[in-house]
């Protein structure tokens, strides 16, 4: 029993690391650009399907296939960005439109709804064969290496002039324009980078799980938000950007551990989406209720007892 739980934990951390890449992408739109980007469900599957077909049909090198899949995600993000900024479609709707369109695109790419990847060479089984490590350890290793590189690059990028302009656009568009920033461009750029990371995660996940599926992106945005919020609730709203990004990844791992635990406890996998939705709803409302309680506790009618109002 204990061993099976530990095994499940190990798998959960590996999955959490790979899904954490997606959560970092969502962090860029949700927290930095202040856009709830629903492209994610489509671009996650796009990454998985593109990578899957390149591996299974063309027999491309796994690393190259993963990178091309990420670029497909960049393009998907740019489409949402153009719909939003050039056609003035509200961001949420622009994301939904791209996501819907991507479903057909993904079916076209894959040519069917599911592509097994068990017999092809992937990033993971390549390393398993080369090192002889267990697959669960390899997925943790790959995830951690990719995440360290990504967090370092994102930390650098959002400190540059260009990255600062994206942050300013998300914080105050009016200010950004009046200081000479082409806010449309920076929104498109942010959405493109974000969805590139999401597709990268999708490509790695499909290699890890051994199949690419046009439905693999359903609910991805909610899982990403869950990771961000769990990270913030547990680690607080820290100031250092690298710490914030790490908290998102840890949130992703903790989410996977929670999932592994409830599945071990006998939750039906069919109910997983409902569980995730409920978890995010609870996590989003916790800060609000805590604030209300704090407010109520500190209220005094007369301001007596040394309390200053």
């Amino acid at each position: 029993m204990i061993i099976s739980i530990l095994k499940a934990m190990q798998g959960a951390v590996g999955q959490g690391a790979l899904w954490g890449i997606m959560a970092l992408g969502i962090y860029i739109t949700y927290r930095i650009l202040d856009i709830a980007d629903l492209t994610v469900d489509g671009s996650f599957a796009l990454g998985g399907c593109t990578c899957g077909i390149l591996l299974a049909e063309i027999g491309l090198d796994p690393v190259a296939a993963t990178l091309i899949a990420s670029l497909a995600g960049v393009a998907a993000g740019a489409v949402t960005g153009i719909l939003h900024t050039q056609c003035r479609i509200p961001a949420i709707l622009a994301g939904i439109l791209t996501q819907l369109g991507l479903y057909s695109v993904n079916l076209r790419i894959l040519g069917k709804s599911n592509q097994p990847l068990l017999k092809v060479e992937t990033v993971f089984n390549g390393i398993v064969d080369a090192t002889g490590l267990e697959k669960a350890w390899v997925s943790i290793l790959v995830g951690v290496v990719v995440l360290i590189m990504l967090i370092a690059v994102l930390y650098w990028f959002f400190g540059t002039e260009m990255g600062s302009a994206i942050r300013a656009t998300g914080s105050n568009e009016n200010m950004a324009r009046s200081q000479g920033m082409n806010t449309n461009f920076y929104k498109i750029l942010g959405l493109a980078v974000s969805n590139g990371l999401v597709a990268l995660s999708g490509a790695l996940i499909s290699q890890h799980q051994g199949y690419a599926d046009v439905k693999q992106g359903i609910g991805a945005i909610v899982v990403g938000l869950a990771s961000i919020i769990i990270g913030e609730v547990l680690f607080g709203k820290r100031r250092n950007f690298a710490v914030k990004l790490s908290a998102v990844v840890l949130g992703s791992c903790i989410y996977r551990i929670i999932v592994a635990v409830v599945l071990q406890m006998g939750l039906n996998t069919d109910d997983m989406k409902l569980f995730t939705a409920a978890l995010v709803a609870v996590a989003l409302s916790v800060p609000t209720f805590l604030e209300k309680r704090r407010q109520a506790a500190s209220y005094s009618e007369s301001g007596e007892g040394g309390k200053t109002c």
């Binding site: 540059t160 600062s164 942050r167 105050n172 009016n174 009046s178």
Partner: protein, 264 residues
Amino acid sequence: MLKISHVSKTFNRGTINERRALTDIHFEMDKGDFVTVIGGNGAGKSTLLNMIAGVYPIDCGTIFLDGVDISRKPEYKRAALLGRVFQDPMLGTAADMQIDENLALAARRGRSRGLSWGVTKKEREEYREKLAQLGLGLEDRMTVKVGLLSGGQRQALTLLMAALREPKLLLLDEHTAALDPKTAAKVLELTEEIVEGGGLTAMMVTHNMRDAIHIGNRLIMMHEGRIIYDVRGEEKKGLTVADLLEKFEQASGGTLDNDRMLLA
């Protein structure tokens, strides 16, 4: 420096809410002019500034700034030539970013933004000195998020940011209106220091007639989308509030209605 010819703007054209905001505006400013703008509700004061800044497209006419035709340039491109401070202190700064980061964003106005650092060490020293000149103690809080500052502090910072790259024209849209009287006076004092000290060309919309008379070298009064009175130099300095009210009645055939106008 600024040359506006035949500029008109109608909002919601062809609908029941159609509103003529500017009617055939002709206006020129010389380098170093500091023009104050007054007028009643809906006179077109803010619209005039927004048209120069490119917030909305103009219906007709041309705007030249420093010899450049900016009539149809997008807002972010015109920003290279302009400095702007808004009525709402929240609008001019990025609340989620630090004081030094905000200044660094302004320092790159009109330049291409690449992959070098957003704020350099050398810049920080420069900002520290500039902030010290504001006399608000912000030089010791450079890494604080701007959202934690008061309205007056944010407005002073916005002013500093607007003047950082020596704009061809500084646009101040009732930038002290949302502040308490003491803070407003302080920000106004800073405004004069920055404009006169830097030899800048500026337009300032105000609802305070006394400020409009005492500050700057030229005053224009607007009514229903037109400039109805334009006075400069010694004649302007000699004006009183009563004179302005009289001028307004003469030119418009009615009494001045601005629910925020301070007559005192």
